[in-house]
């Protein structure tokens, strides 16, 4: 039972990669004019940057949370690490 948890994390990462990349490329980027033509400090540009940042945060939160659950469930059983 060594790999199933890591396979589970990989499957979640697979779905997130497809979903988030699609949302970024086909939903966020086409919203309004391109950033280089309107500047960064406009409402639509800030919305696009915020949504992209949100996708990054979602990825970070989901993957880190799953990995920490896995790590914490096993770390308690680890023997002390030799000092040298």
């Amino acid at each position: 039972m060594r790999l199933p948890p890591l396979i589970g994390i990989s499957v979640v990462a697979w779905l997130l990669v497809i979903l988030e990349t699609y949302l970024f490329f086909d939903v966020i980027i086409p919203v309004g004019p391109a950033l280089h033509s309107i500047g960064v400090f406009t409402a639509i540009a800030l919305l696009k940057i915020g949504l992209t940042f949100g996708l990054g945060v979602l990825w970070f939160f989901v993957i880190v949370s799953l990995t920490e659950i896995y790590e914490r469930s096993l770390e308690r059983r680890l023997p002390p690490t030799p000092s040298s």
Partner: protein, 343 residues
Amino acid sequence: MLAIGNLPLLLITFIAPFLLLVAITPSYLRFLVRRGKTVDDVAKQPVTKIPSPIGPVIFIGAAAGEIIAYLAYGSLVPLAVLGASAVAFVIGLYDDISVLGGKVKPILLLFAFVPFSVALLYEPDLYAARLFFPILGATGAHFTIYTLLVIAGFPIVANAFNAMDSLNGQMSGFTVLVSLALIIGTVLRSLAEPTFSLVRLAATLPLLAVSMAFYIFNRFPSRAFDGNSGSLMLGTMFAALAITDGVEIAAIIAILPAILNQFYILASVRGFVERRQMGSRPTYMTADGLLHASGDPTAPSTLIRLVLLPGPLTEKELVKNILLLTSVTCLLSVLTSVLTWVH
């Protein structure tokens, strides 16, 4: 479009680099040993000396394959792939000889895009600037954003490959599996799109050829290490091919273990840090030759440590587990390609 008549030429782009690497590596290893170019294999008890780096012969093999593909098809795609790989190879070789910092390498690897930008001037359809998704189909073309992602993609993928280069057969086996997934994606695309140029497939086959030949010398117990020149070059070549073949999504899925490994390292050490600069090791070895996950709370999280958390393993068993995990992500990659290209 892929047809029986194209197979001989495609086979040459696979067989020539494979045979070249198998033929020249033994004498190159003797040369390295004569010159004292060996490194410690720290996952062995007792520690053994292994010739390194064999990145230069891997590069020669890959270059031979790409040049054959260029001469056979006349497209700049193989030369763009070779150029990007050459930039990463030179950076890696410099790192092998005189150590580069953890932050300098990713910055220098941005220059892998330079050969791409030159090739783009002469061959504007070098890449499509759009992504192809399973079921949902193609997105619109976004040249600026796509190109920025391509520029950032080279250091990310090259460093991810580099971070997978820890154990006997790990990097070479990993590259064999992910390049197979890449080739399957490219073949499915060539079957689905009659206008898809076969030069892109011909440029991809040398990656599988050199990684298979490298695996012969790198599998447990290793007779050769690739060094940074090999791992950075193979990672950059993989990224370049994913872009030119237009199978980026499937390619990212295939290398998920390496991406997650890189992500864990970045998240736990909070930045680009060289393996040798990490304060605490993620694993340790006991006298019986078993590798254990470190219980030190300051130890960085790595894929190897996560695989070792349930209990210790020998190096060979550990690599087998990592390659098994990679096989699963490669299957997900193939599934992604099937859902994208088979209608």
